[in-house]
Amino acid sequence: MSDITSQSLFELTSNIKEKKLSSEEITKAFIDRAEKSKKLNVYVTDNFEKAIDQSNKFDSNPNFDLKLPGIPIAVKDLFCTNGVRTTAGSKILNNFVPTYESTVTQNLWSQGAILLGKLNCDEFAMGSSNETSFFGNVQNPVGENLVPGGSSGGSSAAVAANLTPVTIGTDTGGSIRQPASFTGTVGLKPTYGSCSRYGIVAFASSLDQAGPMTKNVRDCSMLLEVISSFDQKDSTSIDYKRNNYSKELSKDIKGKKIGIPKEYRVDNMPEEIEQLWKNGISYAKDCGAEIIDISLPHTNYALPTYYIVAPAEASSNLARYDGVKYGFRSPGQNLIEMYEKTRSEGFGDEVKRRIMIGTYVLSSGYYDAYYLKAQKVRQLIKKDFDDVFSKVDAILTPSTPSSAFKIGEKTNDPVSMYLNDIFTVPINLAGLPGISIPAGKDKNNYPLGLQVIGKPFDEQNILNISYALEDKINFKNDISDWWLSE
């Protein structure tokens, strides 16, 4: 049997069911490795002691019918966990201990999973490198001083470094798929309305979705099956019959029509990414898929639209952090001064920047010029996808315009940081499902990902296409464990 922490969710689940491993053995193995991996800075808060207790409880009375029987899982620190500190990577929530549980994490525990701890992320999920976290940057296990992507950077690093079998992240403009691409892992953003937003610290409510981050496509299908559910507590949750994604997973994609959008061939795209995309196309053909050239004419307008819509929603959502009911408070002479000092000291620079953008575009006299304009362009972007999905079953693109960059390389230039999400943002604006799978490496041996985009609620199809491509690509993430300490 291979080392416990390097096993996939599928393997661990089988080994538990066949009684070859106990929940305690697995939980302890991940905790031991985490103790030696502090250099990566993936954990904001650990739950190790309670996790061992819970694993013992599971072992003494196991239920092997559950989908995640006694499996320890760490989650992004954006999900509220009852009784366990939840910070969203922010000073303003540094001392916040929720008295309720997010629906998505509740779904994990209801299927037998055990909370290992809370994973680092960009502050309020605003960032593409995990460098905006109040708790410091995360190291990418792929190479020293490399960002793990963001905002789910602690999550992507934890999966790649074998510190959790699988995890869940959130994706507002690429925050699951871009870090997955940077770390050689799999990340899926489901259709808007698939996974409940209840109990997730809100960033931009019309774009946010939770999703699985895993070592491979099969694990991804297993985890999606658990977290996707209709929820009365989220008014935008959609009541439809979810697939049994792992059971229906198939490599047979013969005859599937896959679109290749010409607008994703952006200026200055590295040759390696162009090549990666070509390889992906030829693998899809080998699997019997039909390749169709398509056009998504408003692609170039997606990022500017996103940088109006997301900050506008964020500035409204973050109005609740006023130092009154929970979180950090900085005292003031009067109420207004207390608000202003609390928010000034409690939020980091990127969050303040986005609140300012959002406040501006929603302010009197600018609403029509910016916010309304952006909502109209968003309609055009959505229509682009509606049109092509009458001709194709899925779309194949690169996940990101580059591989992982160095820590500190882009922190002084917000716009160049935003450009990271150029291929992922349109999918959130249109509410579609998208998955990033590792597809190759660049000249530095850093991973690169391909993205498969599907029709609304067609997660099964993009999982199947990814499953077929994964088999052909045969990606190996050779990580050297350079960070381990004794």
Partner: protein, 95 residues
């Protein structure tokens, strides 16, 4: 169009985030760069386009108005920044 220092200060007032002059100047530069990038949208004519208001094509559901959680006062007050028994405490607002 460019955002001047006065506007930055005005927005910070609206957003209830106090900033000093140094930060305001830095923000002015950042915001202008970002808005230059956003101005690209003006290339598009959207006169006859309906604004997208909801990405999930559903109508909001009705439910019965009933109490589901009781005696949660303690839970609600648990995370309040200032120590107290029954209320949230804020600086005096009425003279």
């Amino acid at each position: 169009m460019s955002i001047d220092l006065k506007t930055v200060k005005h927005i910070s007032k609206l957003a209830r985030i106090s900033i000093d002059d140094e930060k305001a100047n830095k923000l002015k530069g950042d915001l202008n760069n970002i808005f230059e990038f956003i101005e690209k949208l003006n290339e598009l004519n959207t006169d006859n386009v309906q604004a997208l208001t909801s990405i999930a094509e559903t109508t909001l559901r009705f439910r019965k108005d009933e109490i589901k959680s009781e005696n949660i006062r303690e839970k609600i007050l648990k995370n309040s920044p200032e120590e107290n028994k029954d209320f949230f405490v804020v600086p005096k607002v009425v003279e």
